[in-house]
């Protein structure tokens, strides 16, 4: 089930709905452009289920006018329609019933405002009061937190207004809200039918969602209608109207004068003639300056279609375009339209830093080089070079089992790409990240991008691949600490209980005993690892003391029957061990009557045949 119809909080059986007009979610950024809509729902009433005059009928005895009608998407958990019932239309010939509903914005437009206030109340608070107290929009459809933010900003600037609207003035609530919004550069919009108010403020560098790709459509243009470089805002100067002004000479020289008046017509000096009037000179000055700051340049607008993966982006979100020649170019979403059927979201955004007023960091951090990708049981260990940019934030690790699809695989850290911040260092001076819960025996490719605190991304690293261990098993670690690929294997006195001693060895736990010259003090046997083309070399890096750590290996063609272990070779220093076989297992054997910190060994490369 997806779309549930509720009339007066009663769920209507899905089978009753014969026609539900598709609702296009479209939210815009200005009260005058908000949906002021009605919606008809056609219902099956052949059996008189919805009868108004028959006892037992759905509408029998119900005060249905203005009762709530909600359509709720229980898959995405959003309200796709919320309004009030205005009419019920019975078609007795066809046996259908059409219910006509309007949403709360429609109510705003239909309500004649009777509202006065002379207290220290901001325009944002007036808008909230009109929505709550005049239009009676339920609290669950108002994001009060967003209003409070605007109220706080306006209060800090003493932007209080007197309001005098009587029924005789015959002003719709929507028109008044629009004027309150206009005079303070606020934006009223909806997300999932919930009303938000946002007090405009210049973009200050905050980072939003990075959008690296789009679908087929993209346009951009300048908004010719929005230009303000000269403002006059009136206020109550102790009983007479006075004005505050603001101009931007540069903008006037560039585009010609474009005025902004509050109120939007000449009213005169008599206070009584003003329906809305700033109470303080400070508030009027703030509003006058804000309008110029907001629109002294014509805004540049883009519209583009994006895939379903961006359907979570909402109105007023900051996004950063990183396609069509842009690199993290910030824009604020001012319109959003979601085609649920096609899985496409159309976003219209206003560039917030064109022309540039906020100096941005556009320099990508350094490119990563993957040094090695090593097989783990149900996972991979990726070793790579760190990036030393001072503003480095982290790394994005992409992985895939089918080349080309870099955004779909899952691991224990989430869906590709996974965000890796502060990766730990390997013993040999690189950094690493282990990803787990991969498919056993499958070959995965890995690439990495670094990104900085401005979310600039580097170019792709080299792409390196490896098979995840095929789950044949065999890993055994005794008296050792660490791992063979990142931290190296070192003796671990405290781990005496761990691991199993192979039958051919004896492990001595008294490491400092002088009774033995060459005693085995630790053993590591790797998991069985796999390469479809076969392995050719193991590169080993061991501690400085000769013959303290030895390496041995064995191979198999089927992962079941193995050849004998090879003669152990000294793993001291950088050693290349020639190996063979598509299934391989290796072993480190630690000899030391008295060991030190240099007694370690690790695999630095697993080389496969081409």
């Amino acid at each position: 089930m997806a779309e549930l119809l509720y009339i007066n909080s009663t769920l209507i059986d899905e089978g009753r709905v014969t026609k539900l007009r598709p609702v296009q979610e479209k939210v815009e950024f200005s009260a005058s452009q908000l949906i002021a809509a009605s919606m008809d729902v056609e219902l099956n009433n052949v059996d008189g289920f919805f009868a108004e005059n028959t006892p037992g009928g759905f509408f029998y005895g119900m005060l249905w006018f203005n009762c709530p009608v909600v359509i709720y998407d229980d898959v995405q958990n959003i309200y796709i329609w919320s309004g009030r019932l205005k009419n019920i239309i019975f078609n007795l010939e066809s046996g259908s019933l059409t219910i006509r509903t309007t949403n709360y914005i429609r109510d705003l437009a239909d309500t004649t405002l009777n509202y006065s206030s002379s207290s220290n109340v901001t325009p944002a608070a007036h808008i909230l009061a009109i929505l709550q107290d005049v239009v009676n929009v339920p609290d669950e459809f108002i994001n009060v937190g967003s209003f409070n933010d605007a109220i706080a900003t306006q209060t800090a600037n003493s932007a209080f207004v007197n309001m005098t609207f009587t029924t005789e003035k015959n002003q719709s609530a929507l028109a008044v809200v629009e004027e309150l919004r206009r005079m303070t550069q606020c934006h009223l919009y909806t997300i999932d039918n919930v009303l938000y108010l946002w007090q405009w403020r210049p973009w200050a560098g905050e980072i939003g969602a990075r959008i690296p790709r789009r679908l087929s459509s993209y346009t951009e243009q300048y908004d010719e209608k929005k230009l303000i470089n000269s403002t006059i805002v009136y206020y109550d100067n102790g009983g007479t109207a006075a004005k505050q002004t603001s101009t931007d000479a540069s903008s006037i020289a560039k585009y010609g004068e474009s005025s902004f008046l509050v109120p939007d017509r000449d009213v005169g000096n008599a206070i009584a003639d003003y329906s809305i009037l700033f109470k303080t000179s400070a508030g009027a000055a703030w509003a006058a300056a804000l309008a110029v700051e907001r629109y002294k340049e014509r805004p540049k607008i883009f519209t583009a279609k994006y895939g379903d993966e961006y359907n979570w982006i909402a109105c007023n979100d900051i996004v950063h375009l990183s396609h069509d020649g842009y690199s993290m170019e910030p824009a604020r979403i001012i319109e959003r339209s979601y085609d649920r059927t096609a899985g496409e979201v159309t976003l219209t955004g206003e560039f917030v830093n064109i022309p540039e007023v906020y100096s941005r960091d556009e320099e990508a951090p350094g490119t990563v080089e993957i040094v090695g990708v090593y097989p783990l049981r149900r996972g991979l260990m990726v070793k790579f070079t760190s990036v030393d940019d001072v503003d480095l934030a982290g790394y994005l690790l992409y992985f895939t089992a089918s080349s080309g699809e870099w955004y779909a695989e899952f691991c224990n850290l989430g869906q590709s790409p996974v965000d890796v911040k502060n990766p730990p260092a390997t013993r040999d001076g690189y950094v690493y990240c282990a990803i787990r819960e991969l498919h056993p025996g499958t070959r995965y490719s890995v690439k990495i991008r670094s990104y900085d605190t401005s979310y600039n991304e580097s170019a792709d690293s080299n792409i390196v691949s490896s098979y995840v261990c095929p789950e044949i098993g065999g890993e055994n670690e005794c008296m050792l600490l660490g791992d063979p690929y990142a931290l190296a294997l070192s003796p671990d006195v405290a781990n005496a209980a761990g691991g199993t001693v192979p039958a051919e060895f004896t492990i001595y736990t008294d490491f400092d005993s002088s009774e033995f010259d060459k005693v085995i003090t630790g053993i590591y046997e790797s998991d069985v690892i796999y390469s479809a083309t076969g392995f050719t070399y193991l590169d080993v890096f061991g501690g400085s003391a000769a013959a303290m750590v030895l390496i041995s290996w064995r191979s198999s063609s089927d992962g079941v029957t193995f050849d004998s272990w090879s003669t152990p070779e000294d793993a001291c220093g950088s050693v290349r061990v020639a190996v063979s076989g598509i299934y391989l297992q290796y072993r480190f054997i630690y000899y030391s009557p008295s060991w030190g910190s240099s007694d370690y060994a690790m695999i630095t490369q697993l080389e496969e045949a081409a």
């Binding site: 207290s119 900003t153 919930v194 089992a401 989430g414 890796v420 819960e437 070959r443 490719s445």
Partner: protein, 864 residues
Amino acid sequence: MSNLPVYHNDNTLKFEYAPVIHKQAFPRNAVGPHAGLTIPEVDYTDTDANTIYVKGSTGSDGNVGTAASPVATINYGISLCTLLKTKVVILDSNTYEGELVISNTYFQGLYHETGFTPLVSLRTLGFTPSDANTIFVAKSGNDSTGTGTQADPVLTITKAITLCTVSKQGVGIMDSETYVEKAFAFAGNFLMLFAMIGCTPTVDITKDDSHWTMPIDVTETIFHNPSTDGMDVARLRSGSIIIVYTDAADSYKGKYIILDSNFNIIVSETQFYGSAIGSVKVKQLSSGNIIIVYNTGGGDGYKGRYTVLNDSYTVLVAAGIFHANTTYWTAVTETSSGKIFIAYSDAADSYKGKYVVLNVDYTEFVSETIFKNTSNVFGVDCDGSDDNGVVVITYLVGTQAYYIGLEDTAFSVVKSETNFAGCFTPAFLAVAHIPEIGFVLSFCWDYASGYPAQYMVVDYSYNTLIAATALKSTKTAGIGVDISEDGKIVFVYIDTNDSNKGKYQVFNPTNYHITVSASSTMNGISFTSSDRNYLAEFIKSTANMVLKWCTFDGIASETLNQTCWAIYSDSDINAYNCILRDGDRGFYTEENESIIQENHFYRNNRGYCIHIKGAAASLGDISIEHNDLFNNYAGIRLETNNGANERVRNNILYKNSNGNVVADTDITISNSVSVGALTHALVGAGVIHSNPLYINEGGLDPDDTDLNIKTRVAGYQVDSPAKGLASDLTNAGALDVAYVGTETSWSTITVQKPKDIEISLDTVGKGKNISSDGTVFTKKTGQVQKIEITWDGIINADLESILLMWGQNTPSVRAYLNPTTSPNDYLLCQIDWASMKISPKYYKLSRTGTQGVVLTLLRAWELS
């Protein structure tokens, strides 16, 4: 072209589809009072092969974690998890305390064995409460008979405090109920208040009337420089203030000025009566009109008159008469029913105390009535109606001050004449009603003797809240008083020591709740207050405090424009895992050491969340780490700080309207999410200016606020920038989580492999422009691989399997094209949903199968 699929003659195709993510954000710590984690009952077959077992009652952390040899602690159990042993199961009903250390990435879940009910509390006490060290409180307790033991608790914290001893310095609450308690003090032997593990009590503090203070808000200011005589002040509903006075330098004419709520003059000196007047008083009526009462001079026969202005200060009534005979002291107020109550001293009748009541149209409602039938009733003032519907008249007889209270509809005496204790031999008297508190009474001693004005505050029963206190040190006269819209007390007076100038002072009556005068600890308590009029400091501390897992909820003054600190201290504030929300402002201390760690501050609307005035002597002495400061008026203030030694890192600072950090000396913040202004705060490593992507900001319903961060591993579409950002490799902000759960699971089908699998490549974003000279420009942005699988014939069972996959709404599919030959090789694709034909060519075949079934898969393709 090595990445093109290779086909083998396998008999089947395998598809995995409908992936389900099982990861969830598992808490490592908690903020605020915390009842304990709800952990699920084991829902899989647990064995030693797949599970680490914990049994606090008998286990040991040296054990291997099998059922026969369990470990003792959850953290040790988690540390033992391996690739094969990924879950931890608790085998008893013990209580497990402490933050969880989940760094082992093999750990996939914590469960309890069937039949047990362990409590996992992320809150700790650090000691074991017992009858030997704690006085216990519970709603089942009894203050009369209870001894304060666990078995016999008392009912109230107040009572428990009285039972504290040198060996029992803690008070422990044993349930999760609400305790409404009068403000108490941490002092003597009462040094700790805590909730027992598993309990989340609320402590609702009410006012202690011995905690009133009266700091100056506006120091003495001249409003009329020439010589001034009688005066009064009244608040206007616009928030402004009107001061009426007799201009002694201008033939004692009646004049007024208007000040806005910030005490800026918005209407300069304006005359309302052009001849000499005296004893002027003013009040704004609920109609908005402003009434000024006064007596006139000899030229008018010393009548009692009134002038009425509308709220635009236009004169409506120039000089109405309320007493046609010789009048002395006058006073005016409005009753709850909108009547105008005028009290005066009738000079034509031996200066008896009288009143008249006028209707809203200024016609007489109650004719002249005596309220004090003696001679020489002076210094009359009145105010009301108060919260109890009583008009209070104050007056002098001789050198003694009195008041009476009149019920405000029939004006019968409901409070008989009472002498004001502590009001010494006054000469001038003024009274104002302080809403929900009582009255402020101001008076000047004998004018000729040259003593300063005093004030005192009394409650509705006229008990003294603030004893008589000098307004200033030199002599004054002609005093008037009223309460501003934001609860401040405005005094106007003649400064007889300064050429009789007209002046005013503004005071801010405040109260504080809990006091701390000895080092104290609070743990697991949700503090609130339903009694917040004039509240300025919820906790007033002069000693070190440790707060753990406490909440300060809605600690905001209910008095307009007054702000309240949750804690105001001159000593260390060490706050861990606390929540401060929906209040005015947070912690203030004047101290060189404090640790604020793992706390939530949100929706505090009137000041800084953290204000530390002090310089850290050593690195970290002042440490603000792992906090969320979200949606507040302002974030962190470091005043007179050192710069190098204060540590501010690993925080989320977001939507704080007036800046995130303001320091006096440059500090460096690091490893934080910060959106907002920074003043003397340099951006160090790992600072991201981005929306932290909280799960729920609480905009729609504040109760739903969830400051956990969104991450893709937990199923959200985006990763919060705070994820893994902290210097200790955890998330920035207060809440630390581990993403725990089993791996993503897929549903599987295997079907017969058709002979026809068609692969094609197509371009994405292709374009072609051919110029007029024939030059060709083409482009593309990517390529897509299409895999079209056509079954010429397919049995019904396989078709149903395909339809099961096709019918899902999740498009991701792992396609194993050679499941026998290459069982581990798959292509990750998306289903290209199109119409699917599912009928056979001949209906008779429909029992066994169908023909011409086509499944199309798409995937991005690139050269490897």
